[in-house]
């Protein structure tokens, strides 16, 4: 189908974008990579009256490493994340995750921040953001605020952003070299949204897990931090067996939806299988 008619606005600065959005926030949409919004418009699931295209707003792209945190501009394309030279366990997590977002022609346009603003429960970037307690910086003509991931993702396609706010950047903690990170997912076809995805960042010092973060996608409306898996891992001796136990704990803890892509038990099985794959301990002896 074809999208319904809209007024197109192409601001050349962030101030102008915020002013344009403030004119009629409830009938307007921000257009970033367009890889989720335009399909919805083509199907008329979304019919915004006005589109505020932020593709020519300067200062919204790039990955900037800082002392303790790494800041990613909202309009950084998935492909730029996939090609980042960022060192360490965070860089490797970002590259592995990016390679699983859709296909190449989606990654050339789609953006990191667009994915987070869109808030799909199986999206790689929403998972990574929730995993690492990302902080989202949003701006409007009313000012700027920073929203932690725990509050940001509220329900399917629903975030804590107000309609007049623009997501400008996302900051993630720079993980030191004691961390092991990874992401693994299962989809029926290459490039599809995952049915279930698992991502983890585990800190290991002298063979013992001193910090564990585990986040699952496809098991609830929003990315799910698995406390069961995290507490199973914390303090344990790092081994394939410990990861398998954590995965089993996570599978018991979640209450996944059943739909045409897979029923709840199937999703629990996927959790059990995918967490060890994410941490690269699958198939290893305990």
């Amino acid at each position: 189908m074809k999208p319904s008619a809209f007024d197109y606005v192409r601001p050349l600065s962030l101030d102008e974008a915020m002013e344009q959005l403030a004119i009629d926030p409830f009938e307007s949409k921000v257009l970033s990579g367009g890889q989720s919004l335009i399909p919805m418009m083509n199907f008329r699931l979304a019919r915004p009256e006005r589109l505020i295209d932020i593709n020519r707003v300067p200062g919204l792209e790039g990955i900037v490493p800082g002392q303790d945190r790494v800041t990613i501009g909202a309009r950084t394309r998935h492909l730029a994340v996939q090609n980042t030279g960022l060192q360490g366990p965070l860089g490797s997590l970002l590259r592995t995750a990016a390679a699983q977002v859709g296909h190449l022609p989606i990654r050339t346009r789609g953006t990191f921040g667009g994915s987070i603003a869109h808030c799909d429960a199986a999206s790689e970037w929403c998972l990574v953001a929730r995993l690492l307690d990302a902080e989202m910086t949003v701006r409007s003509t009313r000012g700027e605020r920073t929203i932690p991931a725990a509050d940001f993702f509220q329900a399917i396609f629903t975030t804590a952003m107000e309609p007049d706010e623009i997501l400008t950047s996302i900051s993630l903690p720079a993980l030191d070299d004691h961390h092991v990170t990874g992401i693994a997912e299962f989809a029926r076809r290459a490039g599809d949204f995952a049915i279930v995805a698992a991502t983890a960042a585990v800190k290991i010092e002298d063979g013992v897990v001193t910090r564990a973060r585990v986040c699952l996608g496809g098991v609830s409306e929003v990315p799910w931090r698995s406390q069961a898996a995290e507490s199973a891992l914390l303090g344990s001796a790092w081994s394939a067996g410990a990861v398998a136990e954590a995965a089993a704990a996570a599978a018991d803890e979640v209450d996944p939806p059943s739909d045409s892509h897979g029923d709840a038990d199937y999703r629990r099985d996927l959790v059990r299988a995918l967490l060890p794959r994410a941490l690269n301990t699958a198939g290893a002896g305990s």
Binding site: A5, D7, G34, I38, P39, N42, D53, P105, I106, R109
Partner: protein, 160 residues
């Protein structure tokens, strides 16, 4: 509801097109309807099939998931712009021809632009990597094997 049109200047395959379109016109529709370049096909209109793939500043994109107004100032390359002249096929086109990389041909423009865009940037790409790239697009006829063979052969020829 009809809204007023806006003037848009597109550069496609090195030619300039001054067109008047509504902002809701996708790049794919503008190429087909306003520039009369019907080589770009439309299958699903939601980014899944890849029939509409074109190169935007050298990078493969879904022309159904961009508005034509957004392509202003960029260089667009479609399947019509791959061959160097009327008589000569692009190495990727030639390889698809020689290795039967198509049957009905509906998906072919998308595969040709996808593969050309990727190989021009990554001439050293190996089979695993190219299979991953090819997974971007759908073909309902060939079973993909000949598309893989054609792509490998084009890669070799383009490496020279």
């Amino acid at each position: 509801m009809t809204r007023s049109t806006v003037p848009v200047r597109l550069y496609v395959n090195g030619d300039r097109y001054d067109i008047d379109i509504e902002p809701r016109r996708t790049l794919a529709d503008a190429l087909r309807e306003d520039c009369a370049l019907t080589g770009t096909h439309l299958g699903c209109e939601h980014g899944v099939c890849g029939a509409c793939t074109v190169l935007l500043d050298g990078q493969p994109v879904r022309a159904c998931l961009m508005f034509a107004v957004q392509a202003e100032g960029a260089s667009v390359r479609t399947v019509e712009g791959l061959a160097p002249d009327e008589e000569t096929l692009h190495p990727v086109q030639k390889a698809f021809w020689e290795h039967h990389g198509l049957q009905c041909g509906f998906c072919t423009p998308g595969f040709l632009t996808l593969v050309t865009g990727y190989l021009e940037e990554h001439p050293e790409a190996q089979e695993d990597e190219l299979r991953d790239v090819l997974s971007s697009n759908l073909c309902r006829c060939t079973g993909y094997q000949n598309i893989v063979t054609a792509t490998m052969s084009a890669a070799e020829e383009m490496r020279g």
